[in-house]
Amino acid sequence: MTIGSKQSLVRGTGHRATRGAVAGLLATLSLACSGSADRSDPVAPPTPPGNTDTPPPPATGAPLLPSTGLGAVSERYTSEVWVHGTTAYTSTWGARGSVRGNAVKLWDVSGAQPRLVDSVLVADAGTTGDVQVSDDGTLMLVAIEPNPNGGIALYSLTNGRSPRLLVRTTGGELRTGVHTAELARVNGVLYAFCAVDPANGVPARLVVLDLSDPANPRTVWSQVMGAPFVHDVFVRGGLLYTAEWNDGVGIWDIGAVSGSVSAPRFVSRIRTVGGQVHNVWRLYDPLLGPSRWLLVGQEGPGVIGSASSGDVHVVDLQDLTAPREVAFYNVAGAGTHNISVDEASGLAYVAYYNAGVRVLDVRGDLAACTAAQRSSDGRCDLTRMGRERAAFRGPGNLPLYIWGVHWSSTGVFASDMLNGLWRITPATR
């Protein structure tokens, strides 16, 4: 623009102007200096000083669980783990260097050390963030990101450890990326519950696929959900629990009473402290059936590989229409991710990213605590209640970043983004 251009040629006007400029410079630099003073860490949650985080030890002095072996993965970042029989399945994430997370690895876990037996590469995948095998061991479901090549892949496992691709979806509602995909059988029918990523202008949604014909998945329910996204689900006893981030946990009847998978009936909602609801697990007692307790994983802000935040929350479902949060578990300097429960022993294995794995005693009344065991907001603190029973931190000071943990009758396995698949000695009561 040239308006008033002549004035631009006028020179400065002496010392007063110079002093003003110097004042401006000082003000500018003072802001820079104030920034420097507060530069210790780009992540706000409490972290150890310096640039290198070491896994925080258990606050209660709970025993450390040893590993019996590591199935090392160095070329990709490892994400989810699932175990069926003596085979473990791990998915992969993001890009390590220029190698993408487009692989699912199959491990023989019959021995002390996981042994890689095969891998499948998923077409046009940048992240295979979730993997699960059906209860009958015949199907493997893989969730695929990113946008716009998202979707799912279904593999037949009828040839044991040689998966055969049945379908890799493209386009449609899943195209923006499937972040998690859960297999669950409701009234004898196998379904895939797909948490679909939002994109700009495209809200997140939950899409449920009927897998009666696995090669031709059929959408039976699709619902916009979550703020800003739905992250995960848990299905048990005809109830669907949806992890809807800042919208909390939704509870839906999909077969328990009058609802169905294709026409779920909304039951209730609970917004846990801090929101950021990432995953849920409805506890069952092997003898008594559904318990009162719902474990809710909160995933706070984090820097993948080094820092994390977020608590485990306990919700009382005694009145399913009016759930309430009664307890929590916090690890200073780390945050929870996925949960797997040994229900016969009443022990919950909780992946805690840079803090490894924590084992919580979830048997009994989780809302029964003394005044000294309560936080200022009245919730019971599981740590003060002595319910932290064990931890896995890996060998020495090796940095870990545990994405998932899976308890099965075969053993306990933890997927470590940085190192691969750990087999962990199970905790005992």
Binding site: R11, V43, N147, A199, V303, I304, L418
Partner: protein
């Protein structure tokens, strides 16, 4: 364009830069050589009585869809390539009040509305000397938003004229601006803003100009969910302060020292912080122009898409995969402007070196592993073409537009001749 002693009634200009760039390594230890037609723009302004109109059309959506190789740059789903800007880059209208005498000098106010640059941070890199943008573009500017903004300017007593003066004189002046705008970033060069989000974000800027050559600004912005247009992503709280010097015709043409900070979080709870410091300047060597820039900026790393130069917008799971500190140096030499039948032509060459280091360990984004080396070199050569009136400042509306005219900057070829 007509010009009167009171200033031109209107201006019109068109520009584009043809540039070839070699980035080594661009990523995965690969050297890339590419050519672009970058910053193709049509710009105009009209001034009639109290009304000020300004507009810019940017055609990068047609010429730069894959993005331009630019070490360290990120934003709007592009990374290590600069994103194309929106077609309607600016369309602003402002009404300026009559001046009035008040405490210490004369005062004037304005009200502006439209789509354009918010009252935050420093001048957009497009009117600065270099063809490659600084990494801190999204730390230090918030642009292409629909906004309503008010401004109040004070002008002191002119030391050269000995009387209270408008900003068209040499008097010191100061101004404060406040704007309300939509927080959502553009999702494509042709995407419309989310009109329902107008007003969910805000920015305030204080500008002090003790002389026509020196100017200091400090500004703050709150930007609601820039990463996910429908809302729900982290909010940004941004701070910027910059000291700017511009004296066309002198040996030291231009200088800028800038600091900026971005906090990401929900409400007042901060999750991540990124900081930036930048200094740049321009020196006239006869009729050649030598420009240099030094920068240190923190960049969030996000999961890459299948195209490794792209990311999703908004952080998946509110997580990042690391913070990279970029330390960069850039040098540009621009030849004397050549007046031709088709317009002004300015040949230039630009070299840049960038060093990337992870701020935290362990990290899943290791710059040396990802790029192949921790240090990247960039070499560009090109030709800048323009016809008509160019702009030396952008993002100045109403009383600021009038004031900014007093500090014409000669950069990026603009300095040689602003009109043809």
């Amino acid at each position: 364009m007509a010009q009167t002693p009171e200033g031109p009634r209107g201006t019109l200009g068109v520009m584009a830069i043809a540039v070839a760039t070699q980035a080594d390594p661009a990523l995965a230890n690969r050297r890339l050589r590419e050519g672009y037609l970058t910053q193709p723009m049509l710009m105009g302004a009209l001034r009639r009585g109290p009304l000020r109109l300004s507009g810019m059309l940017n055609a990068e959506g047609y010429t730069l869809r894959r993005g331009e190789l630019n070490a360290g740059i990120y934003g709007e789903g592009y990374v290590d390539r600069r994103h194309p800007h929106t077609l309607v880059h600016e369309a602003m209208a402002a009404l300026v009040s009559p001046g009035w005498q008040g405490p210490g000098g004369s005062w004037q106010a304005s009200l502006a509305a439209g789509r354009g640059f918010t009252p935050y941070g420093s001048d957009d890199p497009m009117v600065r000397p270099f063809v490659k943008y600084p990494v801190n573009h999204h730390h230090a500017q918030i642009i292409e938003r629909v906004q309503v903004l008010g401004a109040l300017r004070w002008s002191g007593v002119s030391r050269t004229r000995g009387a209270s003066s408008s900003a068209a004189g040499t008097a010191p002046w100061a101004a404060v601006e406040h704007g309300w705008f939509n927080g959502d970033e553009p999702t494509s060069p042709f995407a419309a803003p989310q009109w329902r989000r107008l007003g969910d974000s805000r920015a305030t800027r204080l500008v002090v100009a003790p002389t026509p050559a020196w100017e200091w600004q400090a500004s703050h912005a709150f930007v609601r969910s820039p990463g996910i247009v429908q809302g729900g992503a982290f909010d940004h709280r941004q701070w910027s302060s910059a000291l700017r010097y511009a004296r066309p015709g002198s040996r030291w043409r231009y200088g800028l020292i800038e600091v900026a900070r971005v906090d990401e979080g929900a409400g007042r709870e901060r999750a991540f912080r990124y900081e930036s410091m930048l200094a740049e300047g321009q020196l006239a060597l006869g009729s050649w122009l030598l420009s240099a820039r030094a920068e240190r900026t923190d960049r969030p790393e996000q999961e890459r898409l299948l195209d490794l130069f792209r990311t999703s917008t908004g952080h998946i799971d509110f997580q990042i995969v690391g913070v990279t500190r970029w330390t960069l140096g850039t040098l540009q030499l621009a030849a004397p402007s050549q007046r031709t039948r088709v317009g002004q032509l300015v040949p230039f060459a630009e070299i840049g070196v960038a060093h990337a280091a992870a701020r935290r360990q362990p990290t899943v984004f290791d710059p040396a592993q990802f790029y192949g080396r921790a240090t990247q070199w960039s070499l560009s050569a090109g030709l800048r073409w323009h016809v008509g009136a160019m702009r030396s400042r952008v993002g100045r509306y109403g009383v600021l537009a009038d004031a900014g005219d007093a500090a014409h900057l000669g950069t990026h070829g603009h300095s040689h001749d602003h009109r043809q």
